[in-house]
Symmetry: D3
Subunit: 245 residues, 6 copies
């Protein structure tokens, strides 16, 4: 199968890292198209960044559909544009936050989330609510590590991240850790060994769920909320989205 792995952050280093994580865990027959949009913010750290990135990301969902992929993954912990992507895609679309919550809930009673900037906390809380995992989450902790600082992470930054995970375990009662940024994908194994609890990276979780849906022949229901958008006119730089009825 072919997976369209879209990183809505335009930072190429991060996309490369995610591509590597996905490739290492994918089944032999799974091909990964890892891409970031041409347009948009280098990193996503607030509602404004996410709003801009969401529109740009949809272009890559469309390209993936044209390339005949079997599933799409939105590789940013805010799961931006998930509903919109499901509307325009015929194949399943998975967000990495939702994927991580699902697998975390299978291996722990309560999981903690450790993420980047303090101001992204409400976004994580909103995702927990949207997916229904609030009561299974022991808390969300910010490290105030900027997304771009994760690219070539030094020991101090790594230790800062590890320390916040330890607090999640000891103070909040987390039994597993969900990493709250796609850019932490390469750190999951080392952290899990040192912390002695499951550490879940949403990127690889989403790859496994995409493969699972594909093998079960399950795809997005197009009757209802995720039906294709009504044909209509778009103007200006979005006019290529115009479809006539």
């Amino acid at each position: 199968m072919k997976i369209n792995l879209v990183n809505p952050n335009t930072c190429q280093g991060m996309t490369d890292k995610i591509a590597l994580s996905a490739a290492q865990i994918a089944q032999p027959g799974t091909e990964i198209r890892a891409i970031s949009p041409e347009h948009g913010p280098e990193s996503i750290e607030c509602a404004f960044d996410e709003t801009i990135a969401a529109a740009a990301l949809l272009e890559e969902i469309r390209k993936g559909e044209q390339l005949g992929v079997d599933a799409h993954i939105i590789a940013c912990f805010g799961d931006p544009a998930l509903d919109a992507a499901r509307e325009i895609a015929t194949k399943p679309v998975i967000g990495i936050a939702g994927a991580a919550f699902q697998l975390a809930s299978l291996v722990s009673y309560r999981f903690g989330v450790v993420t980047t900037m303090t101001r992204t906390l409400p976004a994580s809380e909103h995702l927990l609510q949207r997916y229904g995992y609030q009561h299974l989450c022991s808390g969300v902790r910010a490290t105030d590590i900027a997304v771009l600082d994760l690219e070539s992470i030094d020991r101090d930054t790594y230790n800062q991240l590890k320390h916040e995970c330890e607090l999640a375990i000891q103070q909040d009662g987390a039994e597993a850790i969900v990493l709250g940024c796609a850019g932490m994908s390469d750190l999951a194994n080392e952290l899990s060994e040192q912390l002695n609890v499951p550490v879940i990276d949403g990127v690889v979780a989403a790859v496994k769920l995409a493969e699972s849906l594909h093998q079960l022949n399950l795809t997005t229901s197009k009757s209802g909320q995720y039906a294709s958008p009504l044909a209509k006119k778009f103007t200006g730089q979005y006019q290529h989205w115009t479809r006539l009825a």
Copy 2:
């Protein structure tokens, strides 16, 4: 004071109608800049439309700030890009759905929402949850009237809308009606007279709340969730958003 009234639907006729509603109710010293973005969908009727419109709408928030307005109103019932707009604006930003819920809750125990397409129902429900008004809402009803069909509304369409309001009152127990589309702004008075309950249009509600905040010298708190976005690089068609630290 000066209000930046942004209709994220690019349909000019709808913007004109909204401008008229706002002008009729504004206080003498209130000046209204009613505008729709250069880019984006003619009408907003699903998550995809809203995602595209959200990015385009932010350009008009920025222009409003540059023009020195005192408040911004997002004149689309989904309140798209509200958080992002609050981040980039220094002046308060009000969504018309939130505004309508607030005033409806002051004049009724339970209000009903009557909106356009069935597939926008989850958007309304999400807004009720976000603002905390779920328990004060007797239900959301769709008319399946398309947004553009509201532009030059005929008697049949009006009666269809009125009929759904009557069902909200009689079957759901609505004591007031919130109109679920900015394009219904011109119908509130006639409906209220015929239905004999308060009918709340979010556009004029938002104008009054904007004036209230201005007179009380209250504006968005910039300490916390709505602080200005971090400076960073944007690429492609969004590169004008790049700000250097």
Copy 3:
């Protein structure tokens, strides 16, 4: 327009202070009738005080109606007798707690409430739940300043109040402060300047909302929960409420 501003605490000094706050912010054509009931507790600080005050307050709502006012405000943070007042009034009735929550939610992501006695905390929590603002409130903090001690507030008491606001901001993540007592109405501006976040006083918030409803020609729906009470016999000191069918 004419606003009936009822302070259910019978303490005259507090009523005078509220009257001043309201007058300073009211529009030119707005006339304020500020009054406290003849009967009832000097200050309201527990459920017992509130229950007694509620019955007495309704007399002033009735008088306001007889005087032809255009809106009523209940100027006590517990919003006592709000439903009962809406039943017997033909004009809108606004509670200052509800009014403050509404405006606070327009200028912050999460607001804190800072109030008087510890034992009033459940009352505030109940109001947040009733109006649906629990998830938008970062917490309610008591100062254990008695209501009457707010009348001629000294520097120590002021600093105590300011300190609790600072804790709300720093420890709870409040981005704006709602003052939890009508008797704090005169302190909002000074606190806002010193704390550098919006500080919302419910009295002036309610005046603006009353003016907004009046200008929009919106009043309490009398079909449903707020219909006039059924005619019936009242005995003893309440016999003047007897109405025959």
Copy 4:
């Protein structure tokens, strides 16, 4: 033991009926003081009625304390003034709605509530929320039988009530019925026999709970929310409540 059974409706016939129900079920050593206040509405059917009745009811709680009773029961399904009564009493105070919900939840998975007027439905819903029984209630149904019409109930009215109970069982899935008015106290046994499910009257439920608390030597905690009110001045017709510090 001695129970102060206060019916806040001033209608004497209803008080007599409640007294009889209580007496029939009380243990040999239990003495019942059944009383209605001197002041207030003949019957309680809306928020206004309840607000007036609440203040008047507290006089009877005080008298009961002076008479040395061992427990108080508020015999009106809205449980009016419950918190205030617990503040001024040293002995436990039980509301009949809360009592009925407790026993109903011991003998059914989901119980239905059948009450009087449609406009009292929000009051019942608020009580279910306050006590936490919403998820255990299959629904609240109004009969639109006026409280006073229950006094000398005819067959038609009885059948109307029984029919609504049947709908609660068949359509809502109620497995037991809670009677939503103290004035239905004398009908519980007949209804239970005809409906073949448990029918719970709050008056007798409250008597049993009062006896239980007494035998267990449990009374209201006076540390915290139900501590005695602070001493303060009351004016006018409530001046007898003045207590000096």
Copy 5:
């Protein structure tokens, strides 16, 4: 009346202690059959213990029915097998946790729960949710005292328990204490005297509720969720449960 008091822990000392508590508080005509199952864990301290104990406990419910008891009590704070017991019994079944929550809510605004092992906390939280008392509970605290260590409690262990109760009162705002283990039944009176708040033991609470239901002639509704199980084949060590249709 005759009460079947089943302690699903197989530890005889604990059953003896519970029997004594129940006997001391029961009314003259109430006879108590206190028993622990032949099979199962000595003490219940995790989901595994509870799952095994639940199956064994049902044998004693059946024996109680055969002996003609008038009510059953499950004397373990997890209220294990409560639904299953209600299905197979014709007489009411009461769990001690639910019973304690009910009486605690009658004498306090918020109660705290003090229990045994940390890992039983989720069980207590689940019970609070099931019965709807989450919002009336100030928190659940574990003492990490093992159930069997309660048998012959020494001063140090008692003081550890008392200390946790004090923290519940001072830090969490508990106004009453619910003891989270049947094995603490003999400590309620001493704790209450020393802590000066109501301390509720579920065993005696359940006895009083059982007597109340009996006197009111209320028993489990057999129409609906608690109807008798369908007849079917059971194999192996459970084959005696086989019933033919």
Copy 6:
């Protein structure tokens, strides 16, 4: 990898059917041990059946561990004994209801559940709450088809099931269907083709999730709620569970 697929219903025909479903969808290297316990009810249709089955099921979890399996699946829609199984197993344990909800939420906005007997509805609702999927479920519908009648399903029974699925789609707004019984596993494909929406069988969903966890090297966190049970004495027919400290 090796999966321990435990059907807690002791009916062998059902276990054979489930084994077939799992085998058809498993990856080449996945070996399935499909088993039902020696003890317990032929089918699980109420809380009593489930309580007995839960204890018996744990024996098979233990045997699976002894056989060195890599994951356990509990193949009954009530997910009985899930927490207990996670405590005693070192490898992940997945319930089929939870698995089905997860995959359904990836391919639809709202899914419906169609299950067997009416009296199992509360069990399904409890599972939705436990896992947090209540708001993503459009409703649970019972067919009143007995579990054993699914074994050799005839056309009438199939059509009854299909009809209830159609009602879920048309009346409740379900966009996908979750089959509420492991015994429906063989019907998912035919139903999906005829209904034109995704139809999710929990058995195959759980197999895919078990494979996913295995490939990601994720297993149950043993620090916290799912730590191994404390060593203690078990008596009677459960004495083999005794472990010494």
